[in-house]
Amino acid sequence: MEIWDGLTKAIELLISLDPEVMEIAGRSLRISGAACLLASLICLPLGSLIHFHQFRGKRALISTTQTLFAMPTVLVGLFVLVLFSRAGPLGEFGILFTPPVMVVGQILLISPLLLGFTISALSGVRREIVDTATSLGASGFQTVWLVLREARYAVLAAVIMGFARAISEVGCALMVGGNIKGATRVITTAISLEASKGELALAIALGIILLFLALIINIVLNRLQQR
C-alpha cells in the first residue's frame, strides 16, 4: 500500500536524520522561532501599554485584535507580497522570497494573537496586586514588570500559541517565501509540494515532525496551565 510504504520510508528518513528533512525542519524552527521572538518583543510591551492605559477606543482596539486572531494566512501573504514586491512601497529592500520576509509575514500573522492573549493575561492579575506594588514604591515600569511576572504562565502560554500558529501556517510562507529548495522551503510548504508530487515519504516524515512539535507544545502548555 502506498501510504504504508510512505510511512516506513518516512521513519527511515527520520531515524537516519536525513539531511534534507533536518535542513527543512531546522529552517522552519529558525524562521518561526525568530518571528515568535520578535513578535513577543513587540507585543508584550505593547499589550502592557494598552492594558495599563485608559484611552478612547480601547475596547474597539481589543475587539479588532480579537477578530484578527482568525486572519487567513493567505491574506497576510497577499499583504506582505504587495508590500515587498519590486514595485511595492518596501520593494527596495529586495527581500521578497527570502527567509527575512517570511519572518515579517509570520510576525504580522501572530501579533494579534500575542497582543490579545497578553492583554487578557494581564487582566487576570488583580487590581489589588497593582495597588500593592505601587504602595511598596514600584515605579510605573517596575509595576508593569511585576504584573508581567505575576501573569508569567499565561503570557508564556500566549507566546507558545503564537509559535504554534507560525510554524503550522502554509499560506503566507508559500506566497512570500516561494518554497525555494535550500532557501525558503519550510516544513509546511515542503509537505504541500511533496504530496502533490506524489512523494509521500518526505511529506509524511515532515508531517510527523510537525505533529511531534505540536505534541511538545501541548505538553508544555498543559504543564503551565496546571501551575
Binding site: R126, E128, T132, A133, S135, L136, Q142, L146, R149, E150
Partner: protein, 362 residues
C-alpha cells in the same frame, strides 16, 4: 511639627461624596487610629494619604511640603511610606522575593537586601518559609508576609488598613504585638484604620472617628470613649445608654438633669434649661440587691426587664423610670439572681455620666 497634614480634603466618586472636609494632622512617631463603621471612607482616606488616589479637592502636606497632584515627586514621597492593605495581596513569588521586592525597587544592593530580609523574616517568625511560594500560605501567614514586606523598607509612615480583619484571635494577637513593637522600637508614624474600637484604644495614641465620610471627633481614647461629641459617635463607641433630658440646675459644675421626671446628677457646665443627652456606659452602672449608701450620687430602684448572656458578661436591661442597659459579669448576674421582674438598685457616679448638648434637628 506634624509629619502628615491633610487640609480641606474632599473626595467623590462621580456624584457620591466619599470624604467631606477632612482636616487631620499626625505627628512624627504618633500612632493614629481611624475608627468608623464599614463604608465610612477609612480605606479611601488611607489611599489618598498613600498617594494612590488624587483627592477631588484639598491638600496633603508631607514633612511640611505640599504634595503635587501628579509627577515624579509623588513616587519619591510614596517611597517614604508603606501601606498594608486590608486583604494581604502576596505576589506569586517566593516569600523571600515578596519581602525583597520593595528594596529592589529602591535600588538597594543585593547583599544588603539579603541581610535585611533575613532579619525581618526572623522577626515575623517566617524564616523557615523563605523559599515557599507565598501563595501557598494561610491568611495569617500572608498577613505577616505583607507586614514584613512593608517593615523591611523601614518606612517613616506605616499605613494599616484593618490589619487584623478576617484573622483568627492568635494571628490577630501576633500582628498587634508586631505593630506595637515597631511603633515603640522604631518610632514609626502609623495611621491605622480599624472598626475594632478596642484595637484602636489599645494601639493608638490618638483616635479619629470617621462617620459617613466626615471626621467627627479626634482625641485620645478617654476623650472618645468617655466624652463623645455627639449622638452618632456615642452610638459608635458603644455608649448604649443615650437618654434625652433637660438641665434643671447647675451647682458649680454638678448639673441636675431631669430625665422623664427623674433627677440625675452629672458633671457638666451646661446651664439650666439646656436640652441634653445623658450618656452612661453600660459597664459603669452597678447593680445591688439592696440600697447602699455610697459616694455615687445616682441610685435608683429598678426592675429587670431582660437578661441576655454574652459569654463572660451579661447584658441586663432595667427600668428605673427610664430604661438603662447594664453590663455585669456572669458571676454577679447569678449571685444577684437577675431575672425578669426582679427588683434591684442601679447606681452610677456623677462622673460616669457624659452630658452632650442636644441640637434641635433640622
Amino acid at each position: 511639627m506634624s509629619l502628615i497634614e491633610v487640609t480641606g480634603l474632599n473626595h467623590r466618586y462621580g456624584e457620591q461624596a466619599i470624604l467631606e472636609d477632612i482636616n487631620l494632622s499626625v505627628d512624627r512617631g504618633e500612632v493614629f487610629a481611624l475608627i468608623g463603621p464599614t463604608g465610612a471612607g477609612k480605606t479611601t482616606l488611607l489611599r489618598i494619604i498613600d498617594l494612590l488616589e488624587v483627592p477631588s479637592a484639598g491638600e496633603i502636606y508631607f514633612d511640611g511640603k505640599c504634595i503635587p497632584r501628579s509627577g515624579k515627586q509623588r513616587l519619591a514621597i510614596r517611597r517614604r511610606m508603606s501601606f498594608i492593605h486590608q486583604k494581604p495581596q502576596v505576589f506569586n513569588l517566593s516569600v523571600y522575593d515578596n519581602v525583597a521586592c520593595g528594596l529592589g525597587w529602591r535600588g538597594e544592593e543585593k547583599n544588603r537586601i539579603a541581610g535585611k530580609v533575613d532579619h525581618i523574616l526572623e522577626m515575623v517568625g517566617l524564616e523557615d518559609y523563605k523559599n515557599r511560594n507565598a501563595r501557598t500560605l494561610s491568611g495569617g501567614e500572608a498577613q505577616r508576609v505583607a507586614l514584613a514586606r512593608s517593615l523591611v523598607l523601614e518606612p517613616e509612615v506605616l499605613l494599616l488598613d484593618e490589619p487584623t480583619a478576617n484573622l483568627d484571635p492568635v494571628s490577630t494577637a501576633k500582628i498587634e504585638q508586631l505593630i506595637s513593637y515597631v511603633a515603640r522600637q522604631r518610632n514609626t508614624t502609623m495611621i491605622m484604620a480599624t472598626h475594632d474600637m478596642s484595637q484602636g484604644q489599645q494601639l493608638a495614641d490618638r483616635i479619629g472617628v470617621l462617620l459617613d465620610g466626615r471626621l467627627v471627633q479626634t482625641g485620645n481614647a478617654t476623650d472618645i470613649f468617655r466624652s463623645p461629641q455627639n449622638e452618632e459617635v456615642a452610638h459608635f463607641v458603644g455608649m448604649e445608654n443615650i437618654i434625652e433630658g433637660v438641665i434643671t440646675a447647675n451647682n458649680e459644675g454638678i448639673a441636675t438633669v431631669n430625665i422623664s421626671g427623674n433627677a440625675i446628677q452629672a458633671v457638666s457646665n451646661y446651664p439650666m434649661g439646656k436640652e441634653v443627652y445623658a450618656c452612661i456606659r453600660p459597664e459603669d452602672i452597678t447593680l445591688a440587691p439592696i440600697f447602699h449608701r455610697s459616694s455615687a450620687r445616682n441610685s435608683f430602684q429598678a426592675e429587670v426587664t431582660q437578661v441576655t448572656y454574652l459569654g463572660p458578661l451579661s447584658r441586663v436591661e432595667i427600668n428605673c423610670g427610664f430604661p438603662l442597659v447594664v453590663l455585669v459579669t456572669k458571676i454577679s448576674a447569678e449571685e444577684l439572681n437577675l431575672q425578669v421582674g426582679r427588683e434591684v438598685y442601679a447606681t452610677f457616679k456623677a462622673t460616669g455620666v457624659h452630658i452632650m448638648g442636644r441640637e434641635i434637628s433640622q
